[in-house]
Amino acid sequence: MRATMRILVLVLTLSILPLHSADEKHIVIYAPGTTFSLPVTDRDGREYVGLLECVEPLGTVSAHIDGTHWKLRYNDGESEFTADKNRAKVRGHEMDFPGNFLLEDSRGLVPLVSLGTLLPRILNTSVSFNPVSRRLFVGNVATHFTAQLSKTTPPRLVMNFTAPVNPTIATEPGRLRMSFTREPLVGPGTPTLTFDDKSIPSATYVENNGVAEVTVNGGAPLMASFSNDGRTITVAPVPQQPAAPAQAAAAASNGPATPAANAPKVVPTSAPHYYAVIDPSHGGDDRGVALSDALAEKDVTLALARRLRQEFESRGIPTLVLRDSDINVPLDERAAQANTAHATIYVSLHAASDGKGVRLYTALLPSGAENNGPFVAWDTAQTRALPISKAAAQNVAAEFQRRQLPIRTLQAPLRPLNNVTTAAIAVEVAPASGDIADLTQPAYQQNVASGIATAIAAMHNQLGGPP
């Protein structure tokens, strides 16, 4: 019972926490139903990993020490290791492995490179291990992909995956990088794919420290869009946009201390401009609603925010996500960032376990609140933008109705909606069918994200976007 609880806690912790920080050495283990990351430590110039931690999430495991002997039981098989020896008895068979077994504080450490030979015997299943990139695949869990250039105008690189993927996407001039931290992605036959096109001449696949990375090189800025429930990623050059979104956003913004209408307008030129700001609520030690024993609101909102950003960006809408990791951002700072970004719309994301479908909120402000002077009161900063916020909420509601998702629109005293100077809505997502598992379903998240993005993009002009 205790072992089961420990495994459960370990699995949940590993699934909730970010897999690892980029600087530390890690091994990532992909198995049917779970992906987890473990730290790799150096001992005498050799990389080591805790053996119990490697197998604990995969079955029923127990371990105990008998003098210098460390005995491990995995499901129905026993293994015995001896401190400072490189020979072990696994399921009744003697086997050697490179480097000595270490016992440290009751933990059994094995050389990292030995996992490829030890784990198939211990787990009694096939294992594929790349010790250089520190990625280990248990059973048949690999996700493969193909990449094909479609010679349309503009050209598009269509990547089809054998399972849904949700990589972290970063763009820099002439390059779009997709990092797959959780997916058991396996590279193509050759690490570099070349295409006969100037806009997208090549793509490369590399894997390192537990992460697989696909970089698409382009002759122009690139963007990625998801389809087919996350099984297809299409990379294409960013459409040439007039500079209007940023300028319109700046002109439409009414940030605190913005000059009044009859005063000279000051349009900041150095700060980046975003059309949309997405605020995944909660984060860090603020978990938000405990949607289930294992699922916190903060994790659902972050996943949803990433999807929504992709949806916005695939429509050419520059987007800022206020937190892209599990960190706590104070409410005032969220509003301040949204105001500073001179966004045209602010979308706060929440999740709930009660009810069905989606609830949309706009700010609840005091009746008769006004902000007519050059300075805007913090608590009622939303006053001027409230009509457009309500219009945005109605548009999103109509889109959800079209998608036959239960929808309700309300005002709410929800921080920091009233501190945001631009159009601001909050979207609270409840399960579609009443089953909490809906909230983590890629298809449901995608439907919600796509609905929001479609509705907001459709009211570009009304919100102050380019014609």
């Binding site: 909660h282 603020d286 938000g288 609603v289 405990a290 609101e297 409410l331 929440h350 709930a352 376990s353 009660d354 009810g355 609830r359 909120y361 609840l364 402000l365 005091p366 009746s367 609140a369 608590d379 309700r408 309300l410 005002q411 709410a412 005293p413 929800l414 921080r415 009233n418 909050a426 609270e428």
Partner: protein, 195 residues
């Protein structure tokens, strides 16, 4: 050599002690069995004054709505005490067995202050906020239920401010704003949407 009569006396005394111990143990066991379960509801002091018909705005989680519900409760004439009694009646419902909007056991309103002109300050206890269920709608229902119940039954209440244990707090349970001063007219308009 201990005299025989002393041995008998000591024996009788030992038997008496054991018997008393057994008896006390049984008495204590019975007392624990018959002790009533701790009542989580706030202790309601007797409210002086005639019984009056009031309207309570009761949150209902099932539909995410507020319902106006008539009730007869004894109300004193002083405005501040009336406010306290109204909130007590509301909390009795929320802490009751078949609560439509359950609050955590031990949730209570520490004090209500009426500050002229038209400002009510409601001081919640720590349990009320710390153990409140988190969620935009759940928290909104609690806040609007309290504000609307006061505004509907006590004239000239214009604004409401919440404190927790006498101190300002940013949100009730992560969502509903407690840092702001609520405008009762705006809340009434919202309540109309929530019915």
């Amino acid at each position: 050599m201990i005299p025989r009569h002393l041995q008998i006396a000591v024996g009788i005394l030992l038997l008496a002690v054991l018997g008393m111990g057994f008896y006390v143990g049984r008495i204590r066991g019975r007392a624990e069995q018959t002790e009533p379960a701790a009542d989580a509801r706030p202790v309601a002091p007797p409210a002086p004054g005639p019984t009056e018909r009031v309207t309570l705005y009761i949150a209902n989680d099932a539909g995410g709505i507020l319902r106006a519900q008539a009730a007869s409760i004894p109300l004193p004439s002083a405005r501040q005490q009336r406010a306290e009694e109204l909130l007590r009646a509301l909390l009795d419902i929320y802490l009751g067995k078949d609560s439509p909007h359950p609050l955590a056991a031990g949730s209570d309103v520490r004090a209500v202050y009426l500050v002229d002109p038209g400002l009510v300050v409601i001081d919640l206890n720590a349990v009320f906020a710390n153990a409140h269920r988190s969620g935009v709608l759940e928290e909104e229902l609690t806040v609007t239920s309290i504000i609307q119940t006061l505004a509907a039954n006590i004239p000239d209440i214009l604004r409401v401010k919440f404190l927790v244990e006498g101190k300002e707090r940013e949100t009730l349970a992560g969502h509903a704003d407690l840092s702001t001063m609520y405008d009762t007219i705006a809340v009434s308009q919202l309540v109309a949407q929530m019915q």
